[in-house]
């Protein structure tokens, strides 16, 4: 697919052969991008494809390693720290950068307050804030505090802020991720009003249907490469999904050891409802690797945490080896042989200021008590075992874990989890941010565990990983189970269709499959 150059309208903002590396790691390779006044240009790609880096460069937050930025027909160097806003390029972050305790009008004029005789002209600012909100047809009191507003209204405040700054290019990073359908429609109306006034909008979304509805052109990125820039009319959601994925599986993955078809169900979850989880049911069989795919924020971690007792569970039944269980605390699930390995190594997994030994044994410290006191030599033996089994490499055991490489941290965390000798392990993003060699080691460990008869739930945002390892794949979307894939159905395109909401199965008949 080649670029569809139709209209010769001059672009307002363009990136020319932009490359970007962080240290040694290249994340963007010679990407071209441009946007014209009044256009909505969508940027899509898998997690890690380089979308965020591209928009950070386009808004001046990051400087490209090579290549140039054109603005209004001239080659420019955009000022960092969001100062490009003054030139009319405004980035609205996904997590919205509003000070929660300020009022709407204070927020809109933050950093460029209107003053009279050196004092804040509150009346004028309130008046202008009101005028902007009127123009957007948003009915929010300029004196309302940000923390009293809904997420959708907060987004409107961000847009109002952008407009009051005479934004000519508005970059929105997944603005609809947190919005309901109705709120999304309101947002789209606003965007159409803005483009009618000549504002250019760069729009990042994972939701292909939204892109089809809103965008004039679509740019697809994959692994930091520009795949294509195409007019939306020439696209179907399926063809976008095809472009986003479509790589070959390497021999990174060990051969799959198929579990017995009639292997007993070790973990059963029925109609689980929790924060961010809407009515999820699935079964995990003995010796099975069950992949959990879906976009970031689709509720996979919330399912895991609700099951093991880390998060609050509103309703639903969980069975372990057929017996109903109800874990109110993590300690109970660990004792029952169900362990959860967090994806947040540094925030939730490891004590970064401590050495290897206390980290390894923290989950299972009670095993190392002798007459009520910690038995250092028993801990030491556990560390030796784990170091050998998981090939953990550290200068010495006393080195603070925060100074280990990501791969060694991950292996240590795996060791820590396995210390509890679980029968069922839920691994959340077990290879996030680690080098490919260590990834391969971890893949082989996972496969070996399953071959031993352990049952594994593998939550991962790397689709290849899910495909390369899993016997079956659960795809989640917006807190719901979108589909369960098996055998030849497990392909990136198919997962993407479910994850992006193009395909949806009535999951009730599929769980038993």
């Amino acid at each position: 697919m080649t670029s569809a150059e139709g209209t010769p309208a001059p672009s307002i903002l363009s990136a020319n052969r932009i490359s970007k590396s962080f240290g040694e790691i290249p994340v963007l390779f010679s990407v071209d991008f441009d946007i014209r006044p009044g256009e909505v240009h969508a940027v899509i790609g898998e997690n890690g494809a380089g979308k965020s880096t591209l928009i950070k460069i386009l808004s001046g937050i990051e400087q490209p390693t090579s290549g140039s930025i054109g603005y209004d027909g001239q080659t420019v160097v955009l000022p960092p720290n969001g100062a490009a806003e003054a030139r009319g390029i405004v980035l609205i972050h996904q997590e919205l950068n509003l000070a929660e305790d300020l009022t709407v009008s204070q927020s809109i004029f933050l950093g460029r307050e209107i003053k009279r005789f050196g004092f804040l002209d509150l009346r004028e600012m309130r008046k202008r804030a009101h005028a902007v909100m009127e123009m957007l047809h948003v009915h929010v009191d300029p004196d309302a505090r940000i923390n009293t507003l809904s997420v959708a209204d907060k987004q409107m405040v961000e847009i109002a802020k952008a407009i009051s700054r005479d934004a000519r290019v508005l970059i929105m990073d997944e603005p609809t991720a947190v919005l309901s359908v109705a709120e999304t429609q309101t947002l789209f109306e606003q965007i159409r009003r803005l483009t009618a006034r000549g504002v250019a909008v760069i729009f990042i979304s994972h939701k292909l249907d939204e892109i089809m509805e809103l965008a004039d052109r679509v740019t697809v990125l994959r692994d930091g490469q520009l795949i294509a820039t195409v007019g939306t009319e020439a696209l179907t959601p399926d063809s976008i999904a095809q472009m986003m994925v479509g790589r070959e599986l390497s021999n990174l993955y060990p051969p799959k050891h198929e579990p017995d078809v009639d292997a007993p169900v070790v973990l059963g979850v029925r109609n689980l409802v929790a924060a961010g989880v809407k009515n999820i049911s699935f079964d995990l069989r003995k010796g099975e690797i069950l992949g959990f795919a879906g976009l970031i924020g689709s509720g996979r971690t919330a399912v895991a945490e609700a099951v093991v007792g880390l998060g609050h569970r509103s309703s639903g039944d969980i069975t372990l080896d057929g017996k109903p269980v109800n874990f109110a605390r993590v300690a109970q699930s660990v004792d029952a042989g169900l362990a959860y390995m967090t994806k947040d190594r540094k925030g939730k997994g490891l004590l970064l200021n401590m050495g290897l030994r206390p980290n390894l044994t923290l989950l299972t410290l009670k095993k190392h008590l002798r007459f009520g006191f910690l038995d250092g030599s028993s801990e030491e033996r556990a560390l030796e075992r784990a170091t050998r089994r998981f090939d953990i490499r550290a200068r010495d055991a006393s080195v603070a874990v925060g100074r280990l490489s990501g791969g060694n941290q991950q292996k240590l965390m795996l060791g820590k989890t396995m210390e509890s000798e679980p029968d069922i392990i839920i691994m959340d993003e077990p290879t996030r941010g680690i080098d490919v060699g260590t990834k391969q080691q971890i893949y082989h460990i996972i496969a070996a565990l399953a071959a031993e008869g352990k049952s594994i739930i593998l939550i991962s945002s790397e689709m290849q990983e899910v495909i390369g390892l899993s016997h079956r794949v659960v795809v989640m979307r917006e807190g719901r189970l979108a589909g369960v894939l098996e055998g030849a159905e497990i392909t990136e395109a198919e997962i993407m269709r479910y994850a992006a909401g193009i395909k949806q199965s009535g999951h009730d008949e599929r769980i038993s499959a």
């Binding site: 993590v330 967090t342 939730k348 970064l352 200021n353 923290l362 989950l363 009520g372 910690l374 820590k416």
Partner: protein, 333 residues
């Protein structure tokens, strides 16, 4: 004398960098001892040293409790006021029991038990407000600090609560006597310190304190009952305040609204000088012992010389605290 402050900051830098964390407080202590010897030949005398250590033992016992609280990422500002109210209640309980138990050890022991019990109850209150009430430790203990202080003033009716003289005579040896020439307060301080060191290093509780103070989320995800461990640190702190007070009461035989004023700050200062990090995650009991003794020696040395006014005691203690924290920060980089 003014040389003592720079000495402490300069000397450790010459020491081997990795060892600094361990030897820093010990080095400071050694310097102070040398300074004391050079200023006054009486410094090393048995009477002077036991006197300094016996006086330090109240703060020291409290500071050992504070080491657990701070290591687990908490703070207890109420210990000074708590000590005062415990002292007051102990005296009232003993005076009140005289008619039924008569004058003798049974009254004294009942008083001691009431002190420890009250400390435990106060710790439970602080701990529950912090863990179950989800209020910041600083706020809760700032509140109870005011409550306890005002309670003792109220109980003493603005004046002084005095222990019955005959009971005080029975009780006196607990502070003034000792075993083999070592005063009881020092023996108790040593026992609490040894117990504390063992608890911190060789029990699951000690490890959990450090884990929680280091990163509460990691602790939670590692199936540690964070609230219960936290609660336990405040109870331990309360009980140790009770222990300190039962050694303190026989010293003066009275309690008033000025009892235990600023003890919380001295205890926290001792903990910090000893190398425990104020934001939690790392604590060591022996360091706290050294820290408390350093604070005690500063006052003692100022009293033993004539160049500098002893009224500047607080200023020197303040300088030491700031230096200790500065050194801690230097180590991390």
């Amino acid at each position: 004398m003014s040389a003592s402050a720079p000495d402490i900051s300069v000397k450790p830098k010459r020491a081997f960098r990795l060892d600094l964390k361990t030897v820093g407080p010990l080095l400071a202590l050694a310097l102070l001892v040398l300074l004391g010897i050079s200023l006054n030949e009486n410094f090393l005398s048995y009477n002077n040293l036991t006197n300094v250590l016996a006086r330090s033992s109240f703060i020291g016992i409290i500071a050992i409790g504070a080491t657990f609280v701070i290591t687990a990422g908490g703070l207890d500002l109420s210990v000074g006021s708590m000590a005062a109210v415990i002292a007051g209640v102990m005296i009232m309980v003993m005076n009140w029991l005289i008619p039924s138990l008569g004058i003798g050890w049974s009254v004294v022991i009942a008083g001691m038990l009431s002190g420890i019990l009250l400390g435990g109850v106060a710790g439970v209150f602080n701990g529950l407000m912090i863990t179950r009430g989800r209020i910041e430790a600083f706020i809760v203990t700032l509140g109870t600090m005011g409550i306890f202080r005002s309670l003792v003033t109220f109980l003493a009716n603005g004046g002084t609560l005095s222990l019955n003289f005959s009971v005080a005579d029975v009780y006196r040896p607990v502070y003034y006597d000792g075993l083999l020439g070592v005063p009881y307060p020092i023996i108790v301080f040593a026992l609490v310190a040894i117990g504390g060191e063992i608890t911190m290093r060789y029990t699951a509780f000690g490890r959990y304190c450090a884990a929680i103070g280091s990163n509460e989320q990691v602790a939670r995800y590692s199936s540690i009952n964070v609230d219960n461990v936290r609660l336990l640190t405040y109870i331990l702190q309360g009980v140790l305040v009770g222990v300190a007070v039962l050694l303190y009461v026989p010293r003066l035989g009275s309690a008033s609204s000025t009892t235990g004023v600023l003890w919380e700050l001295e205890a926290i200062a001792g903990v910090i000088i000893g190398g425990t990090t104020l934001k939690g995650g790392y604590g060591r009991i022996w360091g706290t012992v050294v820290g408390v003794v350093i604070l005690g020696l500063i006052g003692n040395i100022l009293n033993l010389q004539s160049l500098i006014s002893p009224y500047l005691n607080g200023a020197f203690q303040g300088v030491i605290i700031i230096l200790a924290v500065l050194l801690q920060r230097g180590r991390r980089t």
